[in-house]
Amino acid sequence: MYHCVRVRQRAQLQGPNSGISAVSLDKDQVQHIAMLARLRLADEEITQTVDKLSRIVDFVDQLSAAPTANVVPMAHPLNQTQRLRADRVTEANVRDAVQKNAPAVSEGLYIVPKVLD
């Protein structure tokens, strides 16, 4: 399913450098982004999102004018590398405490709708 989504998306969304001046999004694109983000939107939400998301995308599009030739993308505010800790057990098993917040559990397992037939 993910593969299909990717292919469809490329065909569907025009890139910012595609020659089309406005990057504004349409309803199908918004529905598609919502699907990628696993968000079910009501119809009126989609209409509203088309307008507001388009404005945001148009707004951030001004970044394309920034003088960034030969600039290395910033990876970390302090240019620090990722610190690793020793691989040892530091906490006791807290499964039951953690699962108190789970909407559906059974015998220590999280319950989801059937995935395989």
Binding site: A37, L39, R40, V60, V71, L78, Q82, P103
Partner: protein, 486 residues
């Protein structure tokens, strides 16, 4: 003097002298919250019994000659910090029933030092907002004018401190969420250097920008709290092992020779005239105290907001993916299949602004767009960071307004996300560059507070706190209290 009007530092001295007990102090604050909490909508959870028990324990410790640096002092936590066995909602329907199984490091450190937690403050949903109007629990009101926003996202913390319902509160700041509400409510708000305070147990929004800090009524109070909160934590992989100075001891040094940079671009169009005048007057006070004023340039300032609205939503869309309706949080009824469970749980659990940011992030990270938006934004972020680095070659702090205008009316900016986003134009740069920054009261415009914004180089919290403390020794804007809450 009545207890609720005293600062944290004054209350600490009162407890030390034995003028009152922590139980008496806690009860006095609880009475204030009972009286005013609802009209401001500043709290999501009030912890009456737990607070009294903690106060009782603090009094016992004190009697035994024991107790930490904050022993018996009441504070409020923004509802973004996980608190064990207490509701932790992050202002969202998604976490409406979430009881945290553990304490955030910030909560743990403050409690270990003896702080008494009065409750959890209201906030924009998942800290995504600048007006507190995105909270699932309704907007917080500004104590200076109940029709106006207290700012956000730490609006509940700021309103509670401004209205004297608590002497101090924790907050978090991703693009201005501590400093902007502090400016709009006449309180002091500090966002430390990225990595200064542990993010462990602080619900993530944009992980390369989020940082915890405090909202208080004086720089001395902020110094007292930050000293307890700051420091290395191995449970946060971005925490930095850098020595924590004694912030309180550092407050008294003079400002003689302090080089203050004024950003040319800050006073351009877009800044409310009277707000700019109040800030200029504050700068003259610093000059009279021995600081030198020079102009500096931040040539990429206009790119701060668009850069932020690529980077922050991108990180948000990734962080928010943990809410799946399976392990914790809201779960849709009768899901047809796994996809339906995910998308309906998230569709129902998240509010409009959060969904919009998740979708913005999903879009800018998607195939074919990553280079044009996300990678480009990270490059511009480097330019912005370089601007600050260059400026700090000639100055010690950069000063300007915290916000372009005083507090705006609730509902005024909800229709256009861009108008709302531009409210953070002066504060976002510090987050993008990971720099410490503080907002302090510096004047009034038509009865509404104005904030002075100071940004320092990495790890310069001490100098920011000292600058504000010295300013507050010569001025009394920070003592101004909204009339209805005296």
């Amino acid at each position: 003097m009545e207890l609720h009007v005293q600062t944290l530092t004054e209350l600490k001295a009162g407890l030390d002298r034995g003028d009152f007990s922590s139980v008496e102090l806690t009860q006095a604050m609880q009475a204030r919250i009972a009286q005013h909490g609802e009209s401001l909508n500043a709290f999501i959870t009030i912890m009456d019994d737990a607070a009294l028990a903690a106060a009782q324990l603090a009094d016992e410790k004190r009697a035994a000659g024991d107790g930490g640096v904050l022993n018996g002092l009441p504070i409020v936590h923004k509802d973004i910090f996980c608190t064990r066995d207490v509701l932790t909602t992050c202002g969202s329907r998604m976490l409406e029933n979430f009881i945290s199984p553990y304490d955030a490091s910030v909560v743990e450190r403050l409690s270990d030092a003896g702080a008494v937690v009065l409750g959890k403050s209201n906030m924009d949903e998942f800290a995504m907002g600048s007006s507190n109007e995105t909270s699932y629990f309704g907007p917080v009101k500004n104590p200076w004018d109940l029709d106006r926003s207290p700012g956000g996202s730490s609006g509940g913390s700021a309103a509670a401190v401004a209205a004297r319902l608590a002497p101090a509160a924790t907050g978090t700041d991703t693009g201005g969420s501590i400093r902007q509400p502090a400016a709009l409510t006449n309180t002091v708000g500090i966002k430390p250097t990225y990595g200064r305070v542990s993010r462990y147990g602080m619900i993530a929004f944009a992980s390369s920008l989020d940082q915890a800090g405090v909202i208080t009524r004086s720089a001395a109070d902020a110094a007292l709290l930050l000293g307890v909160m700051a420091g290395f934590d191995e449970r946060d992989s971005t925490s930095v092992d850098h020595p924590v100075p004694d912030y309180v001891a550092g407050l008294e040094a003079s400002l003689k020779g302090l080089r203050v940079g004024i950003v040319r671009q800050h006073f351009d169009s877009g800044l409310d005239h009277a707000t700019g005048e109040a800030v200029r007057e504050a700068l003259q006070v610093l000059q009279a105290q021995g600081a030198t004023l020079t102009e500096v340039d931040l040539p990429n300032l206009d790119y701060c907001v668009p850069t932020y609205y690529v980077v922050a939503p991108a990180e948000c869309s990734s962080n928010m993916s943990r809410f799946d309706g399976v392990r914790f949080g809201r779960r849709a009824d009768n899901p047809e299949d796994l996809l339906d469970l995910y998308s309906r749980s998230r569709g129902e659990g998240f509010g409009e602004e959060v969904k919009r940011r998740i979708m913005t992030g999903t879009y800018v990270l998607s195939a074919g767009y990553y280079d044009a938006y996300y990678l480009q934004a990270q490059k511009v972020r480097q330019l912005i960071s370089d601007d600050f680095r260059k400026a700090f070659e000639s100055v010690d702090v950069i000063a300007g307004p915290t916000t372009p205008t005083p507090a705006f009316k609730l509902g005024d900016k909800t229709d256009d996300p861009i108008t709302m986003y531009l409210n953070d134009i002066y504060t976002i740069g510090a987050n993008l560059a990971g720099l410490p920054a503080i907002s302090a009261p510096c004047g009034m415009v038509q009865g509404l507070p104005v904030g002075l914004h100071l940004v320092g180089p990495h790890w310069a919290e001490e100098s920011l706190l000292r600058t504000v403390h010295q300013y507050q020794s010569q001025t009394d804007w920070h003592r101004a209290c909204p009339e209805a809450f005296r």
